[in-house]
Symmetry: C2
Subunit: 113 residues, 2 copies
């Protein structure tokens, strides 16, 4: 097991947990790009969004519901936030384990590229 | 009905359709920020990701599966892509109808903010 997110899920690598349930772990990003920047990680090792199938697609809903819980917890549910999934090389995916960035706490820019 | 995406879904406003199924419509973004930039839109009017609940959460999985189909169709499934949901004011949500931006066709930047 060489996946850094699997090691975070298992506790072999410590992390600052924001939220956890049966399927999802939310941790702080170690290089935050906004006042609030957390990572929503699946506990199951799924390589990327492009590896989601009808069989495991439910997990993405669980990730979005976790995002909503965390946004409320951090008091940005009304001000708003951005959810980003980088998929593959061109998408800028840095860890090959499905995760969604949640950024907020300030007005985010219009550049999505 | 004043929602522009509802009008696009109903056909009252013309759009260039990339993909369509029972729940989802994918159209070209009229102000593309990358070589490929499409919008994955729910047919149902849901205000934002923060308005997803256990009752309607399945639609987000359908959006991600549609993204995967479109990525393959556009030949960027292997090179990669970025999926972005802007939610609320700070997130930069411009239309209050749930949609996900899919960008690709080139190496995207590292700035998520």
């Amino acid at each position: 097991m060489s996946c850094i997110f699997c090691k975070i899920v298992s506790g072999d690598i410590p992390s600052k947990k924001i939220y956890e349930d049966e399927n999802i772990l939310v941790i702080e990003d170690i290089n935050p790009q906004a006042l609030i920047h957390v990572l929503i990680i699946t506990k199951e090792h799924i390589k990327s969004a492009n590896h989601l199938t009808k069989e495991n697609i439910d997990v993405i809903g669980k990730m979005f519901l976790a995002a909503k819980v965390v946004a409320k917890q951090m008091n940005i549910d009304e001000s708003g936030y951005r959810l980003i999934n980088n998929c593959g090389t061109d998408g800028g995916q840095s860890v090959n384990h499905l995760h969604i960035h949640l950024l907020g706490g300030e007005k985010l820019g219009e550049n999505l590229r």
